[in-house]
Amino acid sequence: MIHTETAYDVVVVGSGGGGLRAAIGAAQAGARTLVVCRGKANRSGATLLAGANISADIACDGATLSRLGISHSNKDDTPDTWFRDVVREGFYLNNQDLVRLFVDTAGDRLEELLQWGLTVRGMEGEREVSVFGSDILDALYGRAKTLGVEFLPDTLFTDLLQKDGQVTGVVCVDLASGALKAIPAGAVVLCTGGAHNLFSENSGSTDLCGEGQAAAFRAGAELVDMEMISFCPTVTRFPTMYKGNILPYIFITTGYGSLLNKYGKTFTHRYLSPKVEQLALDSEWNKMLLSYAIQSEILSGRGAKDGGVYFSLPSHPAEIMEELYRDLPPLTTGIYADIMKIFAAGRSLTVQPAAHYFEGGIRVAPDMSTALPGLFAAGECAGGLFGANRVSAATTEMLVEGAAAGRSAAAFAQGAAAPVVDSAALDQLEEELLRPFGRTGGPAPHELKRRLHEITGSSLTVIRREEELKKALAGLKELEAQLPLVSFTDRNRTYNRQWREYLELRNMLPCAWAITRSALLRRESRGVHVRSDCPQTDNSRCLYNIVLSHRGGVETLVPAVLTHTKPRDGVWRYTEYIEQVVEELDGEEVRP
């Protein structure tokens, strides 16, 4: 039996910055609030890893930064200018109502964080304040505790509960004991972050599996623009000990080091015009452009033997190393000091583009509500704000959306009847969640996960094409058919990793399906979505958001929300269009 626990007004799932800020918003509005967290309440998710604890950024318009006394270098900047930039950077797929919320409330979110004890470490860019990810978590967690928010750590969310078309709570597993729990709630806010672990190569922590997106989809919410995934271009692949570490990316953004193919040659010029190459090496556009160049070099067969390309950091002249240590003091301690020993020994790191940030996700309205009454979503698991490419800060996204979602969820819960748990549905769910315990001779869950990684690795990374995407759909269908056959070697429910991987796969497979399906439907190259068989950006025919809804098995191409600005009509080659967009952005920056 799934035990039904005490009811809450609002249950938040996930305790990254989005989840913590949503909980604060709900508690401030008087809701009795619980946060269900997969890991440790204040040390999990991408928020912890933001900026690799060297320098994460929170973004805000320059005028507000000046008002807050943080920086006066950009004080003629306004939310309106920032709005235009975010929409251009997103190649006009952004939901402009969400962008409005983003630029209009970022300052409030930053200001309150400062009041709650966040330390500012300097400036990273004109609009970017430099902070530590762990500091953001500490400030938010402290505030949430003060407001009486409760936490349930080491607990894996698997499903949403609903009755009569309205969300009534969540189902989760206490990982240590293996107990299944149903927690009734007046409203639920999903803040489960990205789906990094769909990919073998990713920059996230192991708790990011797209479970919120999939559970929301299964329950009847919509997913938007799932094909849009930012890859961090230079994530460590080899040696294995540092796999997933983004230090080489921090080096590149600071200006140090170079990328070499197996012949020891630089190669980005092969794929990018001089102007665009400059952007790739020297600007915030580097994620998208370098990923494209590196993946192209790997596909051409000139990559390193371990699959990526080499990131080299010359150790002489010694003065350069001294400059480097001056610029990045954290290199002298901890894991970074260990990595620096590799360079000191004259070796390089093998790096490659890795899944890093998910622009797409659960489709939300500007109050963060979804198509399913009582369900709200915020942060990286929600989609739409950044359209086809994120350049501005995702940390600001999680704060802005988290605050709005918490407030809306509390208001919804106040008006809702006491949540009722549908016991028949619960029994049925229990059967599905525990099924492998009663089976023998089926595939092991980690074997299915390995096959999933093969599929995502060959079809869903930086450069895609129809033939591969169709193969991926077939492969995923096969895995879906295998999932109910899974069986375990390990029969005990206490901290059973095989069981956990089965539960993850239940959500990872639909998430991978949604990404593949959307990537097939978008027959153009735009922003972070590049199709070698459709190399043009097509503003005449493709200015739509791809919306998937599970309930009706419906796929809709919904015209993008262009409430404030519109792009030029026309069709361009992918990199040509990027040049054009960047020129427009630069043009705006020339002020008297």
């Binding site: 997969r38 890991g39 440790k40 604890n53 192991t206 040696p239 000990m241 390990d490």
Partner: protein, 103 residues
Amino acid sequence: MKDYHVTVRRSGPDGGESYLQEYTVSFPEEEIVSVLNVLETIYREQDPTLAFFDHAACRQAACGKCMVKVDGAVKLACKEPAHETMLLEPYSSRVVRDLLCQS
């Protein structure tokens, strides 16, 4: 290839006496692997019942949750290079299962 000989102090999920179990895993000579990489490999290739912290692991020495005793000293499994021969034990007495302890 290089072999790593690992002895793990295990405790069943139902309590009872702990016991030692030995595993050997190999990696290419030029690899650098962590204790966590070794545990992952054992789970995937040899023993899917082995329990260690991995459900919300940063893998980058940031969350502080992967603690384990390596040859008697408490280390972060993701930050500690694997020793060629090593004894892995739970870092505290509040064992949930194998190397996983209650925090």
